[in-house]
């Protein structure tokens, strides 16, 4: 299935409603803009590079903060570059970690070239094969609210592939100063800068 029909901004805004204790990590490119468009927050960590690292940053954060829900929002291209992370995460199974892959089947930031996900690699099946205990394929807006509740529940490692429209929306640019975003995040959790 090549992408889908869902509006990425609407889905992400829904998932971040009443976010409570939620910690959020975003993959570079459009997922960072989607999360920013839903409202900047001290407990968002936006990646601007290190493609393939969104899921591993989320894993480390979830392991260090087991009492808070952690959500990784990334895209199919970013997830593909960190393919092995699915295996690494599946071995750990942190109950508080949720991964949402916004899948439009394309590399959106670089000119909408079709990605592997758009040419037959179904990331939800990869996650299942790796042993993720809960995997969703989201194609309808109604399923987003149950997913939001699952992200907050901290009951099981879970991954959702959300089939979104392939479109480049106006960018909502998060802060690019990595030190600032890092220290802001840590301060909000009560940790001082070095």
């Amino acid at each position: 299935m090549i992408g889908g029909t869902l509006d990425r901004r609407a889905v992400v805004a829904d998932l971040l409603q009443d976010r409570g204790e939620l910690l959020v990590v975003t993959g570079l490119g459009s997922p960072s803009y989607d999360v920013m468009a839903a409202g900047d927050h001290d407990l968002n960590y936006y990646l601007w590079a290190a493609m393939g690292s969104a899921m591993t940053v989320g894993l480390g954060l979830a392991m260090a903060q087991p009492h808070r829900p952690v959500l990784v929002v990334t895209g199919d291209g970013e997830a593909l570059m960190g393919f092995g992370a699915l295996a690494t995460i599946a071995l750990r199974k942190p109950r508080n970690l949720s991964i949402v892959i916004l899948d439009n089947g394309h590399f959106g930031e670089t000119g909408m070239q079709p990605s592997h996900a758009g040419q037959g690699i179904e990331l939800s099946r990869v996650a299942e094969a790796c042993g993720f205990p809960v995997v969703d394929l989201v194609t309808e807006r109604q399923v987003v609210e149950p997913l939001r509740r699952r992200i907050q529940a901290r009951e099981s490692l879970n991954l959702a592939v959300v089939k979104i429209q392939a479109e480049n929306l106006p960018r909502a640019l998060p802060p690019r100063d990595g030190v600032y975003v890092k220290n802001r995040f840590r301060l909000a959790l009560g940790h001082k800068p070095a």
Binding site: A50, G52, S53, T56, G60, L61, A64
Partner: protein
């Protein structure tokens, strides 16, 4: 007799690596296995206060440790010199956000290397780390491992430094190919 000890040479450094990390408050040991790290990996896996995480490729460890630091905890990456090559682009995350980074790197292609396919990356390892802004130290003698690693941990965790200790092949011992 554990399989990762070479006969004759001083092997105390193998325990020292773990002890120094533990004393530095490391709560996460992430690794791609290497024989030279076998003792530290075994001890980390057995320690209930440490999360030991096996990776599929070394750059996963950079993301993981950044995440753990965001969450308020310290960690270290154990890898072989070949893995340094896999880390290059991802080290940009460490540089841009000034995340503390502590790596212990066992060397190949460094001394008495039987497999010359290890030489290109082994010879480029220290320069590659430095190109990406990682400070490096090198231990070829057992007595140097603990103080060098302790110093690297201080500069990583107290000063948001990117630090790597290279463990030379002379320290680790020649790999036996004739078995």
């Amino acid at each position: 007799m554990v399989s990762d000890t070479a006969e004759g040479a001083d092997q105390s450094w193998r325990q020292d690596v773990f002890d120094v990390l533990k004393a530095a408050g490391v709560k996460h040991v992430v690794y791609v296995p290497d024989a030279g790290h076998a003792t530290a990996i075994r001890l980390a896996e057995a320690d209930p206060e440490i999360k030991a995480v096996v990776l599929t490729t070394e750059e996963e460890g950079i993301g993981y440790l950044a995440g753990a630091w965001l969450g308020g905890e310290r960690g270290a990456l154990l890898m072989q010199s070949s893995g340094v090559g896999n880390c290059i682009n991802t080290l940009g995350l460490v540089a841009c956000a000034r995340f503390p980074f502590l790596a212990v790197v066992t060397m190949r292609g460094d001394w008495a290397e039987f497999n010359q396919w290890q030489n290109p990356m082994g010879q480029a390892t220290e320069a590659a780390l430095r190109l990406m802004g990682v400070m490096t130290w090198r231990a070829d003698e057992a007595k140097d491992v603990a103080p060098l690693l302790r110093g690297a941990a201080t500069m990583a965790f107290e000063g948001d430094g990117a630090c790597a200790l290279l463990l030379g092949q002379r320290l680790i011992g020649e790999k036996e190919w004739a078995k």
